[in-house]
Structure formats: structure tokens, C-alpha cells
């Protein structure tokens, strides 16, 4: 059974006014448990609107959103419990930090869940470990942390609720390459340790190609593709028409193949590409 299931979901902003805009239109989507889904699409393609439907921050104008087989809007009063099950971490989450200490800030979510002291403590320490925050940082003010640490503390604030599904909107935005890689590794290991479903919105094909098991492509308010990484990137020309790109290394391989060199184009990371080229060269020399 899919953990998230959307049926004919449409959301229109400012409905009934002349300024009404459909941000997402007729979305049908099933996400299976344990996937790591990369969500890509142009600015304004409806990514942000889509993910805000998954934890009930936005209510669909029409259609249903099901989490664990239950319509999340069946009972309006239970919408908060959906938010604990589906953790959503917004873009630049460090701007939501507010408590006196990092510990208290991470504890905000678990506290809202109504956990007891001991459970809260466990959740906070576990989340801090996932994101690689040193225990001594927990007693500091979140405003004294460095940019990267703040980002990680904020992500920990969502992870601490122990959500079954974790959604991250551009978690690597504005970070340097090292910071990006750290965050991506952290997400990957979090997923492996907890077995939860993770949705990752990103602009960077490279980021997503490296860790995702499936890719969801949004284009003009609709789902354009939802498939495995290989299948999505094999449709490179279609992606280009949407103004999206396959990873640079994949483009190199596609280009080489067009030049008549016999190799497979399912390469998404530079490391893997290097290996393939080396073995090809060695083979050629032999």
C-alpha cells in the first residue's frame, strides 16, 4: 500500500477572483513506503504547493490526499497529528529557530506532540545525532551557531518528531559544496537508519541523482514524470524541453554516445563516470 496517495488533487489560489491561479492541477500520485523521492521542476511548477498538501498545510481545492490510506481531511481536528506523521522542513529552515537554546528548539516539535520529558530528551538527542550536531552545541543559543549548524539544527527540529515521512524543501540551498554534501549524506544515512520515506525537493540534478531512488518531475502544475532515476534521465530531450537538465556527467556520456562511442548513458555521478571512462580506455588500449 502506498504511504502517500494523491487523487485528482487540484489547488487554486484566489479561487473566484479574476487573479485565480492553479498551482497544481489534477495530480495523481502514489508514493511507496521507503522510497527516497527527488522532486524537481522549475520555479513555479507547483513543487512547493504540492508538498504543502502532503502534511495538510494547504487543503486541496478538489481531490483527496491520503496518508497511510486515510484521507487527511476526513477529520479537521486531527490535522495536527498528520503534521507529526509527515515532517515538512521548509526552505531556509534556519529562519524558524526561536528558542533560547538549540535543545529547546529541537524539542519544540516533540513537545507539541505531547511526549513526556524522557521521550523528548531521547528524540532531541537522537535527532541531533542524525544531523551531526555535537552534544555541547545543544546548550548554545541557536543564534550563535554558524550558518551550516543552524541549518542542521533546524532540520533536526523536524526529524525529532520522528516522522514516518520526511519532506525537505531545498535543504542544500545557499550552502557551499562541502555543506551540501554533508547535508545530502546526512539525509541518506537518516533514511537508512530509520527506514522512513523521504521526499527531497531540489533544483540540482546532481544532488538528486546521487541519492534518490525515484524522481518526480513537475512541469506547469502537473506531474510530468514519476519514475526511477534511470528512466527519467533517459528522457533527456524531454527534460530539456521543460527547461530542466540531466546531470552534467550524464550529458557528457550522452554526447559521447552520439559521437559513436559505445557506452551506456546511465551514469549520474562524476565518480561513477570516471570509473566507466577509465575502464573504457583500458579496454580500448588492450
Amino acid at each position: 500500500m502506498p504511504v502517500i496517495s494523491l487523487k485528482n488533487v487540484t489547488h487554486t489560489y484566489g479561487e473566484g477572483t479574476p487573479l485565480s491561479v492553479s498551482a497544481i492541477e489534477n495530480i495523481n500520485l502514489d508514493i511507496e513506503s521507503g522510497e527516497l523521492v527527488g522532486i524537481i521542476g522549475h520555479t513555479g511548477s507547483g513543487k512547493s504547493t504540492l508538498i504543502q498538501h502532503l502534511n495538510g498545510l494547504l487543503k486541496p481545492t478538489s481531490g483527496t490526499v491520503e496518508v497511510d490510506g486515510e484521507n487527511i481531511w476526513a477529520d479537521k481536528k486531527k490535522i495536527r497529528s498528520v503534521r507529526f506523521k509527515v515532517g515538512l522542513c521548509f526552505q531556509y529552515p534556519e529562519y524558524q529557530l526561536f528558542e533560547e537554546t538549540v535543545y529547546k528548539d529541537i524539542a519544540f516539535g516533540p513537545k507539541n506532540m505531547g511526549l513526556n520529558e524522557k521521550q523528548i530528551d531521547e528524540s532531541v538527542r537522537r535527532a541531533a545525532k542524525y544531523v551531526g550536531l555535537k552534544p555541547e552545541l545543544l546548550t548554545k543559543s541557536p543564534f550563535d551557531l554558524s550558518g551550516g549548524e543552524k541549518r542542521r539544527a533546524a532540520i533536526a527540529g523536524v526529524m525529532a518528531m520522528n516522522p514516518k515521512i520526511l519532506i525537505l524543501d531545498e535543504p542544500t540551498a545557499g550552502l557551499d559544496p562541502k555543506g551540501r554534501q554533508e547535508i545530502l549524506n546526512m539525509i541518506k544515512s537518516y533514511k537508512e537508519q530509520t527506514g522512513s520515506t523521504v521526499l527531497l525537493v531540489s533544483h540540482s540534478m546532481e544532488d538528486i541523482a546521487g541519492i534518490a531512488s525515484k524522481i518526480l518531475v513537475m512541469n506547469k502544475s502537473r506531474v510530468a514524470m514519476y519514475d526511477t532515476v534511470e528512466n527519467v534521465f533517459s528522457r533527456a530531450s524531454e527534460l530539456e524541453k521543460m527547461g530542466l537538465n540531466v546531470p552534467q556527467i550524464t550529458r557528457i556520456f550522452i554526447g559521447l554516445k552520439e559521437k559513436g562511442i559505445n557506452l551506456d548513458t546511465d551514469v549520474y555521478t562524476v565518480a561513477e563516470g570516471g570509473k566507466r571512462l577509465l575502464s573504457l580506455l583500458k579496454g580500448g588500449m588492450a
Binding site: C89, F90, F98, F108, N112
Partner: protein, 271 residues
């Protein structure tokens, strides 16, 4: 809630009112408001209302949008109306409720007061709807410039106003984002008693203050990088010039004031 604030909102257009010199517009609006309080009877007030309606027609601003500006102060209008309805002294009793009497004079005063407030609000909204915030602050700066004699930094004040207006939509967006982020962590903003609700605002206000200060620093740096010093010697890209249009409106208001004075004088026996 926040979106009901219409002050500083602008309705784009090219009407006569839009093209008027903002300085003249501000002064005339002030005179208009001033004269509203001098109306002693319905004839005088009716003249003002008619003039206002004429202004609305010229401006091309939809009447609905102007009514929206009334929505924010509806409570005040209603309370004023009711108070006057019940507590106006004298006149013939129309209805005796036991605890209060409604007299014909009460009804008249209530309507009079309500119309007066409506004219007041709609009149000033009409000005802000037809003037961009930048033009407005520019005009205020010019009008206040005589204060420079007293060593008051008028241009700094005007810049502060411009910036404040500029950041209203930005802050609204920011509040929206922060609220969503905290809701996603299970913050409960809708339920609970007054104290609980006030406490629930902390996770929203703290990040809002922090980011406001951050924005302020960034903006200050950016302005300094472009050599802004707040000196009096800054020149303007758009020079304001008076035209025949402004003269037309000045004459219009002059006629209106004369009309009100005459009506006040001749119809003293009517309320």
C-alpha cells in the same frame, strides 16, 4: 486580518486623480476632511458625499475596493451609530425600549455620524488608492520641507516612511512562511485560551524580529554601498510640477467649501 489593511495600497490607473500633483492631492484631501467636520446638516454633508462619489467615478477605482477600506473600521462605525441612536438628547420618541428611547433626532444623528465617518475614510482611501506610496512620501517630504528651518531631517523621515511602506508586503510574506514552518512542527495557533494563544505567538515573533533586523542591516549596507548619506542635497529623478489639472481640482474644492458654508448658513433649522 493583515490583508484588510488598505492604507498604502495603490490601484493603478491613469485617471485625472492619478495624474494630479500628489502635493495638491494631499492638501485638498486634508481640506476635504476638515470641511466634513464643519458640515452642520444633511445638505452640506450630502454635497460632500456627492463630490466624493464624483471623485470615485473619475478615479476608476472600483467601489468594492473602497468599501473594503471601510471593513477594517466597521466596528467603530457601528458603535458610533448605535451610541448616537440611543443617547442623542431631545426630539420626538419613536420607539421606547424601556432602558433606552429612540428619538427621531437620535436616528438622524446616527445616520449623520455614520455617513460622516464613511466619507472620511473613503475620502482618504481614495487618495492613497490613486497615489503610489513613493509619490505620497515624496509629496509629504516636500510639504514638510519648511520644517528644515527647525533642523528637522525631513528627507530622513520621508525615507523611513518609504521603507516602512515598502516592507509591509515583505513582512506579511515572511509571517506567512514562519507560521507555516511552525505549524509543520505542530504549533497550535488556533486553539486555546488567551494566554496560550499569546504564548503561541512567541515562535512566530522571535524569528520575525530576527529576520527584520537582518533585513535592516542588509538594506543599510546596500544603501551605503550606493552612497546614501541622507543629506539634504539629494536631487530627484521625477520633478513634481503643477498643472492646469491641479488648478481645476483646487477650484472644485473651493466651490465645495463655499457650498458647504452657504448650506450651513441657510438651512440652520434642519438638524
Amino acid at each position: 486580518m493583515v490583508r484588510d489593511i488598505t492604507i498604502g495600497q495603490y490601484f493603478p490607473g491613469k485617471s485625472l486623480l492619478h495624474r494630479m500633483d500628489p502635493r495638491v492631492k494631499i492638501v485638498l484631501t486634508l481640506i476635504f476632511i476638515f470641511v466634513i467636520f464643519f458640515c452642520k446638516n444633511f445638505f452640506a454633508l450630502g454635497l460632500m458625499a456627492a463630490f466624493l462619489i464624483g471623485g470615485i467615478c473619475i478615479s476608476g477605482v472600483p467601489f468594492k475596493m473602497l468599501l473594503k477600506s471601510l471593513k477594517a473600521i466597521m466596528v467603530i462605525v457601528v458603535i458610533t451609530g448605535l451610541l448616537n441612536l440611543f443617547y442623542a438628547a431631545g426630539g420626538n420618541v419613536l420607539l421606547d425600549l424601556g432602558f433606552a428611547k429612540i428619538t427621531d433626532k437620535g436616528v438622524y444623528t446616527a445616520i449623520f455620524m455614520t455617513v460622516r465617518i464613511a466619507c472620511l475614510i473613503i475620502g482618504s482611501s481614495l487618495m492613497t488608492y490613486t497615489t503610489t506610496p513613493t509619490m505620497l512620501t515624496d509629496a509629504i517630504e516636500r510639504l514638510l520641507s519648511p520644517l528644515k528651518v527647525f533642523n528637522i531631517q525631513v528627507n530622513t523621515l520621508a525615507m523611513m516612511m518609504t521603507l516602512a511602506l515598502r516592507f509591509i508586503p515583505t513582512l506579511i510574506e515572511e509571517i506567512d512562511k514562519i507560521m507555516n514552518a511552525q505549524k509543520a512542527r505542530g504549533a497550535d495557533l488556533e486553539n486555546g485560551n488567551l494566554i496560550q494563544r499569546a504564548k503561541a505567538l512567541v515562535p512566530i515573533l522571535v524569528p520575525l524580529f530576527v529576520s527584520s533586523f537582518r533585513r535592516a542591516y542588509e538594506l543599510a549596507f546596500a544603501m551605503e554601498c550606493r552612497c546614501y548619506t541622507g543629506s539634504n542635497k539629494r536631487t530627484r529623478m521625477k520633478q513634481m510640477k503643477l498643472s492646469w489639472l491641479d488648478l481645476l481640482f483646487v477650484i472644485g474644492i473651493a466651490v465645495l467649501v463655499t457650498g458647504v458654508i452657504l448650506f450651513n448658513h441657510f438651512f440652520t433649522h434642519l438638524i
